[in-house]
């Protein structure tokens, strides 16, 4: 269940996009995001053009629409929250849709790049672009252990479900809090072991 949201079932399906160099995809994505953020709200043609371009990319990428919508739903709340606050303001009320459209274009761009490019290729481009190595290492470790942690969370969720005999909401929240705290503890212990494993192979 957790994997439905953060998993990678649809990453890199075979499509013409898989063969496009990672540097080019990343460059185009950054350009779209920067322009979308900076362009004045009155330039509707840019938003329409970018949306048509992304729709074409979705078609070529062969990524399932439902999967993309789930990802968007997962990533949107923070930005849409800002849009909602904007909508409630009497003066700038009309611009809420602007924030929503901008965020949708940016998020869809990021989702498309991350699901049509192997993460290791993205990291290689970042290294090549002289992004600080500490940041690249942190990103690599985060990507590597995200799946280990989600697997662990899923195993704990199943174990909890198999011994949950009540539908009381209070009890559910309490056990969920226990699972989350356990996940943090296990995560931190694993981090220690990973650090040991890195040191064992000469990490300085």
């Amino acid at each position: 269940m957790i994997d439905d949201w953060v998993g990678h079932h649809h990453s890199r399906p075979h499509s013409p996009l898989s063969h496009v160099p990672a540097a080019l995809k990343l460059g185009v994505a950054i350009a779209i995001i920067v322009i979308t953020v900076l362009v004045p709200g009155t330039r509707v043609s840019w938003f329409v053009g970018a949306s048509i371009f992304l729709a074409l990319v979705v078609l070529i990428s062969r990524l399932p629409l439902l999967f993309l919508l789930k990802r968007l739903a997962l990533l949107s709340p923070f930005v849409l929250g800002v849009a909602l606050l904007n909508a409630l303001q009497p003066v700038a009320g009309a611009s809420w849709w602007n924030v929503a459209v901008r965020s949708a274009i940016c998020l869809l761009t990021v989702i498309l790049v991350s699901n049509t490019t192997p993460f290791s290729s993205i990291l290689r481009v970042l290294k090549f672009a002289h992004v600080p190595s500490l940041l690249v290492t942190t990103l690599a470790l985060m990507h590597r252990y995200l799946f280990v942690l989600t697997d662990e969370a899923e195993r704990m969720r199943r174990a909890r479900a198999s011994r949950t005999f009540t539908r009381q909401h209070g009890a559910r929240w309490r056990t969920l809090a226990t699972v989350v705290s356990q996940l943090f503890i296990r995560g931190s212990e694993r981090a220690e072991r990973i650090y040991d494993a890195m040191c064992a192979r000469g990490w300085k």
């Binding site: 192997p118 040991d196 040191c199 000469g202 990490w203």
Partner: protein
Amino acid sequence: MNTALEITNLRYRYHDGTEALRGVTFRVAPGECVGLLGPNGSGKSTVLLHLNGLLPDKPGLDGTVRIFGQSVTPESIETIRHQVGLLFQDPDDQLFCPTVEEDVAFGPQQLGLEDAVVETRVRRALAQVGLADYGSRATHHLSHGEKRRACLAGVLACEPLVLALDEPTSDLDPRGRREFKALLRRIDATKIIATHDLELVAELCSRAIVLDHGLVVADGPVLTLLNDEQLMLAHDLERPHILRHHHPHSDDSA
């Protein structure tokens, strides 16, 4: 005796007060393959972490650990880690890079080797463990057995003189176990294997050391110790089946 590693009166207490080692002493000769046996919590993994200088976590070793005559100290730690390769119990702890080849290259890169040398070592290590075509595979997509072999490749790429293996066959299916055993047999380094897999020890090791409650309780030829039913049972172990009857795959080289 010419020694690869020498541990003298080693003591260690974890932060929670657990006394893991209470004066462990033994020596291992170059090229020897030694099984480190004992029940859960006997101190096997703690001994292995000391061999690589990962313990104690604060300076001030209680006892001495020497690798080829050199004491494990904060000053000697880089040389020691070059000489001792440690295979961790959980492959997910050890495979921290996105792809197999990047992970195998990690150690040689830390040694400061040139790119061409690193590439040669990666290719050789992957071929050695039978993963020659797995270089570009994502580490989190490997099966458990493949992860184990990728971990071993990462250690072998550093060309260690001593291999310390922590439960190398745990969680492997019978075929994976056989293949991994055959792989270990082909490696020339001095090996110290902490394990509950007594059949592995019977087949690979010439000598066994039994630890219990942080102390060495027996040290001798592997078959003598493993055939001593009383000793085995007294320390929550058992005489392996392979010594009771012939196993059809016991001399299988996978």
